[in-house]
């Protein structure tokens, strides 16, 4: 199976429909702006909540981006072709999820310095923040993919997607924000980082087959 050709296709789709790349990130910055506007003045307590707010926004941004993960392919018929024609459908599907991660989780990690300063995170916490993001966001894309695979058949699947996936996101949120808060308190963060890595690895193990199964169920709804 020509991985390069398969990856190239996913990459081209994102590059040619830039909205899918730009919109979720725009939402993220917009939401950060709203939080800053809503907080009372130059409150010194902002650093306390910054980690939690950042991670919640990362979860919500993922939700937005996930809804469209399979929808285009579902509607154009390329999804059913992927399931039928490929010897191992999980490979092209996994590549799709990987490209989604690159356009959300990876981008957010790279933008973390800007986001952090908007939210009032001290610069000392930045390395920990970026590490937590890069270890935890793959789990968000993968587990979210499972939810997306089951809801792609519904026209207003967005809320149902959130309902299915947000409970699964809870550990990533807890450990992710935990890393940042612990770092600011000067306490060790190794355990939490390992947990994030573990969750992402576990997601990588179970998600591809779960996603393909979910997609096989969803194409029958057409």
């Amino acid at each position: 199976m020509n991985l390069a050709a398969l990856f190239l296709r996913e990459w081209r789709i994102v590059m040619r429909a830039k909205a899918s790349l730009v919109n979720p990130l725009t939402f993220l910055f917009l939401a950060v702006l709203l939080f800053s506007l809503g907080a009372p003045g130059q409150s010194l307590h902002r650093a306390e909540f910054a980690a939690g707010i950042l991670w919640v926004l990362v979860l919500l941004t993922n939700m937005l981006s996930l809804d469209g993960l399979f929808r285009r392919d579902y509607e154009s018929g390329t999804l059913e072709q992927t399931l039928l024609a490929a010897d191992a459908p999980f490979i092209p599907i996994l590549l799709r999820v990987a490209v989604q991660w690159m356009s959300t989780g990876l981008m957010i990690t790279l933008l973390a310095p800007i986001l952090g300063s908007f939210l009032g995170l001290p610069a000392s916490a930045l390395p920990a923040t970026m590490l937590a993001l890069i270890l935890g966001t793959p789990a968000l894309s993968l587990l979210g993919g499972v939810g997306a695979s089951l809801t792609v058949g519904f026209s207003r699947g967005g809320v149902l997607l959130g309902l299915l996936v947000l409970p699964l996101y809870v550990p990533v949120l807890i450990f992710g924000s935990g890393v940042i808060n612990q770092q600011m308190a000067g306490m060790p963060i190794d355990a939490q980082l390992y947990w994030l890595l573990f969750i992402s690895m576990l997601a990588l193990t179970i998600s591809p087959f779960a996603i393909v199964t979910g997609l096989r169920i969803s194409v029958q709804l057409q």
Binding site: M1, N2, R16, G77, E80, Q81, L84, D87
Partner: protein, 195 residues
């Protein structure tokens, strides 16, 4: 290549049509006819494994499926779409062969335009190119005549005839009758009123 034994399709536990028994070998061409809503499309989807509620046995070899949805990405050009299909199937993409196919189907001039800029009929021709380039011998086509103009319909019949002559097999659910020598027809019948 395809064989059905007392095979029928169900939707919400209702059997859609009288069970079918048939065999398709190399060189066979079969059209599946029947009134609207009887389940021609569902039958093909069931044979592909895209619809699980079935009764009876069936077996098939590797196939290319063309459904109602074209299976083309609108942002990509025909050549990009075709090369992706080749990667999906695990076969090597031959640029020259692909260009030849597009030429035969009369859309070579559009080879570098995104499919989204083409008409339905033109996109259908790209889909036809996909079958030509695939190495699978069994073709399962759902309403392939949709949106085709007279010239394209002639092309479609030619392509199907050639494929069968070369030892392939075609199953086609359609309203428009095929004009292929030696074709067989099967008509799906409503379930006779039982108690």
């Amino acid at each position: 290549m395809l064989s059905l034994s007392e095979f029928t399709v169900k939707r919400d536990d209702n059997v859609l049509f009288e069970p079918l028994t048939l065999e398709l070998g190399a060189g066979d061409c079969m059209e599946i006819l029947g009134p609207n809503g009887i389940g021609k499309s569902t039958l093909l989807r069931a044979l592909c494994g895209l619809h699980l509620s079935v009764d009876g046995q069936y077996s098939y070899t590797a196939f290319v499926y063309q459904g109602h949805r074209l299976g083309l990405d609108e942002l990509m050009t025909p050549l990009e779409n075709l090369s992706w299909f080749a990667a999906l199937e695990g076969s090597t993409f031959d640029d020259a062969r692909a260009s030849q196919a597009l030429q035969r189907l009369g859309i070579h001039a559009l080879a570098f335009q995104p499919c989204g800029h083409m008409s339905q009929g033109q996109q259908r021709r790209v889909a036809m190119a996909r079958w030509l380039l695939s190495d699978k011998t069994l073709w399962m086509l759902d309403e392939p005549f949709t949106a085709l103009d007279a010239e394209a319909q002639i092309l479609l019949n030619e392509i199907i005839s050639e494929h069968c002559a070369l030892g392939g097999a075609v199953v086609c659910a359609t309203h428009v009758l095929l004009e292929v020598d030696g074709k067989r027809s099967v008509e799906l019948k409503n379930i006779s009123a039982n108690a």
